[in-house]
């Protein structure tokens, strides 16, 4: 079946070791407000970037291993996470609006995962949506990698 939802813009998955040498992304993550993402001990398996956050630094992340959303996580969920999150492992980082994070956190919870770190990057706008960087990782024994 070909999902009829929009492509989330992500590329093929990579193993965690490769992620640690994520050439283009790593320096950006290590700098400034995204430091928490680079500090994940095991590295990130992928990164979600919210295109509504017009940060010049984020444009460098528009490479493979990133999933670009416009605030709507439908395609990311249906095409990618719903399958990946049923299996053990997979640490996901993100730089998104808190509205998208809310949805991802709820979905992650159903799959034994939790936001293990979050950093507010920008306070809430008039719609109550802030910008945040975050890491969602497996916490339940059924999905924590041995």
């Amino acid at each position: 079946m070909t999902p009829r939802m929009g492509d989330s813009g992500g590329g093929p998955m990579v193993d965690r070791r490769e992620m640690l040498t994520w050439g283009i992304v790593a320096p950006v993550l290590a700098s400034g407000p995204y430091g928490a993402l680079a500090a994940v001990p095991e590295g990130l398996d992928a990164l979600v970037v919210d295109s509504r956050l017009a940060d010049a630094g984020l444009s460098a992340l528009a490479a493979r291993r990133t999933y670009t959303i416009d605030g709507d996580v439908t395609a990311l969920w249906y095409n990618t996470l719903d399958t990946l999150w049923r299996k053990p492992g997979f640490v996901l980082g993100g730089i998104t609006g808190t509205d998208a994070l809310f949805v991802l956190e709820r979905l992650a919870f159903d799959c034994g995962r939790r936001a293990v770190s979050r950093t507010e990057l920008r306070p809430a706008d008039r719609f109550g949506v802030a910008a945040a960087s975050w890491v969602i990782a497996p916490v339940h024994p059924s999905v924590v990698k041995a």
């Binding site: 999902p3 439908t74 249906y78 509205d99 949805v103 979905l107 159903d110």
Partner: protein, 536 residues
């Protein structure tokens, strides 16, 4: 651990948890504050106040025998269980219980799509199946049926229908409980029961004839607390060959009365799907002069509203119509709708919308070719689950009051005026004003929406919202309008308004509850139904 179950000390609670762990395994029982955080209602206006309801623990069984075991342990300890399917009932309480200290029974691991039949057009699912899961099951197998999804689609067909949730396709499918057929229920004593034809061993019509023989108790499990639904059947629409939309506008305010009557005819004749009403005048609400007119105490006059519409060059009302079926049928039904309405309402206009074969392409779903601005939620209208609505949820969410009103233009005008006036004292967006259109979600009734936002960092705002919710429930009831669904913190308020003959309905429910669940093991207080143990 913040709270304990009612009438229980910490030692007994620990003992009970140990028994529950024995039933499901230690990994599937949670009682720490951190683990229970997701079981709070993050949309609650009483967030972080003494009124907020908290669970004492949560447990996720793997199968029906484990559900039965949990119910029996809860019965032994007289601990209330609060069953949830996927726990996405946001705006109506989310996963949080009615009673502090309840154990949330999280059914997310019962997640099997048991059957989808695209020749007899039904599905049988477990409570942890989401609309996404059902949709994926259908797509992966190329089955020719369409799901009627709520928006967002992350909830479960069972949970949504038991809340009497709605969708956006044809009338007989939009009412999700109405479209259900047959259920399996774990009763408060732990016994397993099937309704309708499911009660007849060997029957193969469980999802086709809902009644079986004798009284049908299925309705007791919707917004009720008489058992835990572990399987449920749903009728599915055969995948239509074609989809078509069209827009009709009418110039004057009072034209809405006739417009509604015509659309009622079309809908009740199964000629169209969800009719999406709107007022083009809403785009004037940013103009302080028009805002003052549309929210005028006692309501504006028709003449003043018509003059404003004429000045702006806008029609007063519009309705988006949707047609499903063979291409020729959709075309004929749209032609008939145009002819019927335009011949009766002077100045009415019609604009052809999109039309395409189903299933829709991605571009069609994203609605880039629609020749007019539409209020149709295209994903929902075509049975494709989505999470996109979260982009328009502001602040930390909202609570919802959706009063039921008659399908008439006059009733719409009355609700605009009465509830608009009643809520004027609260510094909130004017949900009810002279441009507020009804929602045609349920098959045979209108609703309107009051959904003020909540802010975790602004308790004063939340207190205003909480007061406004209680007032609007009461004022609506004075005019014969009742809420269709409510968060636990409002369920008693709403149930109080359904008071015919000295609350005969509530007393009947209480008698039933006392008979089958005297200790209140299953969600005491849900739907405003309390067993004797908890009645004040």
């Amino acid at each position: 651990m913040a709270v304990l179950p009612p009438d229980m000390n910490a030692a007994t609670f620990s003992q009970m948890l140990e028994e529950l762990r024995g039933a499901v395994g230690a990994d599937w029982l949670w009682s720490s504050d951190e683990d229970l955080g997701p079981y709070r209602d993050s949309f609650s206006p009483v967030w972080d106040t003494a009124e907020e309801r908290h669970a004492s623990a949560a447990i996720a069984p793997a199968d029906v025998p484990q559900v039965q075991a949990i119910v029996r342990i809860a019965g032994k300890y007289k601990v209330p269980l609060f069953p949830i399917s996927t726990g996405k009932n946001y705006g109506y309480g989310g996963p949080s219980p009615n009673v502090n200290g309840s154990v949330v029974l999280d059914l997310k691991r019962l997640n099997q799509v048991l059957e989808v039949d695209d020749k007899r057009h039904f599905a049988l699912v477990e409570p942890g199946v989401s609309y996404f899961d059902l949709y994926r099951h259908i797509q992966e197998r190329g089955l020719k049926v369409m799901v009627d999804c709520p928006d967002p689609g992350w909830g479960s067909p069972i949970g949504n229908s038991l809340e009497r949730g709605i969708g956006y396709t044809m009338p007989q499918f939009r009412d999700h409980f109405g479209a259900s057929c047959g259920m399996e229920v774990v009763l408060p004593n732990g016994e397993l029961m099937r309704t309708g034809m499911g009660a007849l061993p060997g029957s193969r019509t469980w999802q086709e004839y809902r009644y079986g023989f004798g009284p049908d108790p299925a309705g007791l499990f919707a917004q009720g607390n008489f058992g835990i639904v572990t399987k449920m059947g749903f009728r599915l629409m055969p995948l239509p060959e074609y989809y078509r939309t069209g827009l009709i506008t009418v110039p004057r305010r009072r034209d809405f009365v006739k417009l509604v009557e015509h659309v009622n005819y079309l809908s009740d004749s199964s000629m169209c799907g969800e009719a999406v009403y709107g007022s083009p005048l809403q785009r004037l609400m940013g103009d302080p002069q028009f805002l003052a007119l549309a929210t005028k105490l006692g309501g504006p006059s028709d003449a003043d509203m018509d003059a404003a519409a004429e000045r702006a060059g806008l029609p007063s009302w519009q309705v988006d119509l949707q047609f499903f079926g063979p291409e020729a049928t959709t075309s004929a039904n749209w032609d008939y709708a145009k002819a019927r309405i335009l011949s009766d309402i002077p100045g009415a206009k019609a604009i052809d919308g999109d039309h395409f074969p189903l299933p829709a392409t991605e571009e069609q779903l994203l609605n880039k070719t629609q020749p007019y601005q539409t209020g149709i939620r295209r994903y929902g209208a075509l049975g494709v689950p989505s999470l996109g609505i979260w982009r328009i949820v502001g602040d930390n969410g909202h609570v919802g009051f959706f009063p039921i009103l008659p399908r008439s233009g006059e009733a719409v005008f009355e609700m605009q005026r009465v509830l608009g006036d009643a809520l004027k004292e609260f510094p909130l967006r004017p949900f009810f004003n002279a441009t507020t259109a009804p929602l045609y979600w349920h098959t045979y009734a209108f609703q309107m929406v009051f959904a003020p936002s909540v802010k975790h960092d602004d308790p004063a705002h939340n207190a205003i919202v909480h007061q406004a919710m209680k007032k609007v429930v009461a004022v609506a009831a004075e005019h014969g309008w009742g809420d269709y669904r409510a968060a636990p913190i409002y369920q008693d308020h709403v149930a109080d308004t359904y008071s015919f003959n000295h609350h005969a309905l509530r007393r009947f429910h209480e008698q039933l509850k006392d008979a089958v669940d005297p200790d209140g093991i299953i969600a005491p207080g849900r739907g405003g139904v309390w067993p004797k143990r908890f009645r004040k």
